[in-house]
């Protein structure tokens, strides 16, 4: 029996159309746009101005606080503008526009393809290097990685968990990366183990990727302390709490940090970026993005420079199909629908999913028939129908007692509702209201 998390979950149609597409490098874009708020935490502070020349890897914005991240230029060229610009969702933020000239890299970056296995740096130096390289959680959360590697003093990490589940339908960027660079990922994993000073690491991979499981298992024998854990395919297994439960059989207590179980979870793409930063001195300037959809001409897994426009990447993949009605940044379960496809791709973008007219709209809302499918699907053991109703009626005290704040927003409830009720929409509203109430209570 394969391991999986113990409460709730669903198994949507996987639609992994690009599972066998190798990572394909995409030409350097003519222009890139770099948003300063593309990670969780404080926006970075711009340190370049119009007219400055930069190389690939030049620091262009510094972390704007403890929870923040550096940003480096993904291309070489000239800064043409530093201005407010809209992101994919229509929100404005400071953006650095760079016009590309050639492809000249910072001299300090080692661009040779040789695998560098030996880890020479100490724990402190590794974390510093990761912070300098501007690495954030590449699964989509974009939480600065160096911050996660320095948990509060009362917690002592005992194990590293690498999230290679890729539980979202359609997305295959992690899968392709594992097939392309297994050794780099495993060395990255060793580096992360050294950074948090643990001897054991688990890489959790869902069993819909048997080739990746086999390949990593074969390579992992050379790296002490790393175990590959095949997991039963089930969404939302890539949720931090669900993954810890699946692998360690420990549940993070309500309101506690995941590290209280002793586990620090990092995405597999992040492990690869850590390898490049620590061993090759390469900051985070590119990533793998899945471009997919039922009707797109050339779906695939593309390695792109950050800041490239989504539109340009979609054109490389054959252009927007005629019946395109919705573009999603990330997976279809938790990704966000995009209103502006001319916006740039940021660090947290794992995929672009294009849905046709038929799949872009929700079904007609019908009365709740109290079937309880949302309750059995909820991976946090909540009662989504009740939370939605409480939010709808503004009964926030009761919603707080019913643990609305522990909702992951994974969408299993809305997905499984036979009456097409927008359960999660209501819960989000209620959760925000309750969080606001809790904050104001703390202040007074």
């Amino acid at each position: 029996m394969l391991k999986t998390f113990r409460i709730g979950g669903i198994h949507p149609n996987e639609h992994k159309l690009t599972a066998h597409c190798p990572v394909t490098p995409v030409a350097v874009p003519r222009q890139v746009a770099i948003m300063l708020n593309q990670h969780i935490g404080a926006p970075a502070n711009c340190i370049v101005k119009k007219g400055d020349t930069v190389k690939v890897g030049t620091l262009i914005a510094e972390a704007g606080g403890f929870v923040s991240a550096n940003i480096h230029s993904p291309v070489s060229g000239t800064v043409s503008k530093v201005d407010k610009a809209a992101n994919a969702f229509g929100q404005y933020g400071t953006t650095i526009i760079i016009d590309t000239e050639g492809d000249e890299w910072e001299e300090s970056i080692d661009r040779s393809p040789e695998l560098k296995e030996e880890i020479t740096l100490t724990s402190q130096e590794i974390i510093k290097k990761i912070a300098e390289a501007g690495i954030v959680g590449l699964g989509g959360a974009t939480f600065p990685t160096h911050v996660k590697l320095m948990p509060p003093k009362e917690f002592k990490p005992t194990v590293l968990i690498v999230n290679a589940t890729e539980c979202e339908p359609y997305l295959t960027d992690d899968h392709a990366l594992m097939l392309e660079s297994p050794d780099q990922i495993l060395v990255g994993c060793r580096i992360l183990m050294k950074a948090i000073n643990v001897e054991q690491a688990y890489i959790g991979i869902e069993n819909n990727k048997p080739d990746a499981i086999a390949l990593l298992q074969q390579h992992a024998t050379r790296y002490p302390g790393i175990t590959i854990v095949p997991l039963r395919t089930r969404y939302p297994q890539g949720g931090e709490k669900q993954l810890i439960d699946a692998i360690l059989h420990k549940q993070v207590a309500n309101g506690a940090l995941p590290v209280s179980t002793g586990a620090i979870v990092q995405n597999v793409g992040t492990a690869f970026a850590v390898y490049e930063a620590v061993q090759k001195n390469k900051p985070l300037v590119d990533r793998v993005v899945t471009v997919t959809g039922d009707h797109i001409a050339k779906p695939g897994n593309y390695r792109i420079r950050l800041g490239m426009s989504m539109h340009e990447l979609i054109d490389m993949a054959g252009g927007l199909p005629d019946d395109c009605a919705k573009v999603i940044l990330g997976g279809p379960m938790m990704g966000k629908a995009v209103s502006n496809i001319d916006s740039p791709i940021s660090k947290g973008c794992s995929g672009i999913v294009i849905l046709d007219e038929k799949h872009a709209h929700r079904g007609t809302i019908e009365p709740c028939i109290r079937c309880g499918k949302c309750v059995s699907a909820c991976p946090m053991g909540l009662e989504p129908f009740l939370l939605a109703k409480l939010s709808q009626n503004h009964l926030f005290d009761r919603a707080e007692r019913e643990l609305i704040t522990s909702c992951l927003e994974c969408g299993c409830c809305s997905y499984s509702c036979p009456s097409n009720r927008p359960i999660l929409d209501y819960i989000r509203v209620g959760k925000n209201a309750v969080n606001r109430i809790i904050r104001s209570r703390k202040q007074s």
Binding site: A256, V338, G381, E383, G411, R428
Partner: protein, 330 residues
């Protein structure tokens, strides 16, 4: 280009509410075939009348009283009609069936706000309403396969449970249990064929329309409770073969009367049953205990309908107090 923007999730499971309803209807078809075989034309007339009148009552109420768009296409009225028909004897006159449909849809469902808002199972309220209003009509059961082409003039006899009640558990040894499996017994027209009902159960589990919790907890409770009762009786009488006797007694309790139909298709009604798996088990055990208590000590030989309706009343309470297993408190 105009792009649709909406919050996640952007995909939806394939199951819709009306698919759930129609799946239950499909699951009931084997049992319907069995009742057509044993009760003939009467079963057909009663079932079709019940379905048609339930749909018409819902349509009329929505169209002319509530003035909303009728939703009879969602399958829930058809299902209520089918289940109500299954709970009636096959020789019941058409006009009584229609009264039952009005009680089921009009009073129990629409008066409480329609689909999703009723407290009690509509089909069961319809049946109990008729049982109390027309006790004579409702307790004469056509003898299986005796009179396939007769309707209200069908030859009638007692059900197994009423014989058990009259003659005591000594009667158990005379029952041919294989008749119960295939459905060769008197009773409401849809409740007789145990195997057919179990085939439908397997289908519903496979399609994940219902979970095992409610039916299994009801059936297990009835079996264990009846077994204990049968054993206690025999042991006090110092009879030989007490274990075998108690087992037969419990099995008859399981396969006769409306227990399988009730446990699999009525108690699992989404709207009137608890929403958490723990709540479902409590609810199921409650129905099981009440069923045996009514059958054993109550005024009626059969207690499944009453047991389910009583536990329906507890469902809001169970939903309020029995919470799912929360993450992080395991």
């Amino acid at each position: 280009m105009e792009l649709t923007v909406s919050p996640a999730p952007h995909i939806h499971g394939r199951l819709s509410a009306s698919q759930c309803m129609y799946s239950v209807i499909i699951a009931l078809l084997p049992a319907f075939a069995v009742s057509l075989y044993f009760f003939g034309v009467g079963a057909l007339i009663v079932t079709l009348t019940s379905i048609l009148s339930c749909v018409v009552v819902e349509y009329l109420i929505q169209k002319f009283l509530l003035k909303v768009k009728p939703t009879i296409g969602d399958g829930s009225a058809i299902l209520t009609g089918l289940l109500l028909g299954f709970n009636l004897p096959s020789n019941l006159p058409v006009w009584i069936v229609i009264i039952g449909s009005i009680a089921a849809i009009g009073i129990t469902k629409m008066a409480f706000g329609g689909l999703g808002n009723n407290l009690f199972n509509p089909a069961l309220v319809g049946r109990v309403f008729l049982l109390i209003s027309f006790p004579t009509y409702m307790t004469q059961w056509p003898v299986p396969s005796a009179s396939r082409w007769s309707y209200t003039d069908a030859e009638t006899g007692a059900t197994l449970l009423s014989k058990l009640k009259e003659e005591g558990s000594q009667w158990v040894s005379q029952v041919n249990i294989s008749d119960l499996w295939i459905g060769n017994q008197g009773g409401s027209l849809g409740e007789v064929g145990a195997i057919a009902l179990l085939i439908g159960f397997a289908f519903l589990l496979y399609r994940r329309i219902i979970s095992w919790h409610i039916p299994v907890s009801i059936l297990a409770t009835v079996f264990v409770f009846s077994f204990a009762l049968g054993l206690g009786e025999e042991l006090s009488a110092q009879a030989s073969g007490a274990w075998q006797h108690a087992f037969d007694f419990a099995l008859i309790q399981l396969l006769s009367g409306g227990l399988l139909l009730g446990a699999i298709y009525m108690a699992t009604d989404y709207v009137t049953s608890p929403m958490t798996s723990r709540g479902m088990i409590i609810y199921g055990i409650g129905i099981g205990i009440l069923t045996v208590v009514i059958r054993q000590w109550g005024g009626y030989p059969e207690g499944v309908s009453f047991a389910i309706l009583i536990m329906n009343a507890f469902t809001p309470l169970i939903n309020n107090y029995v919470k799912p297993k929360r993450f992080g408190r395991a």
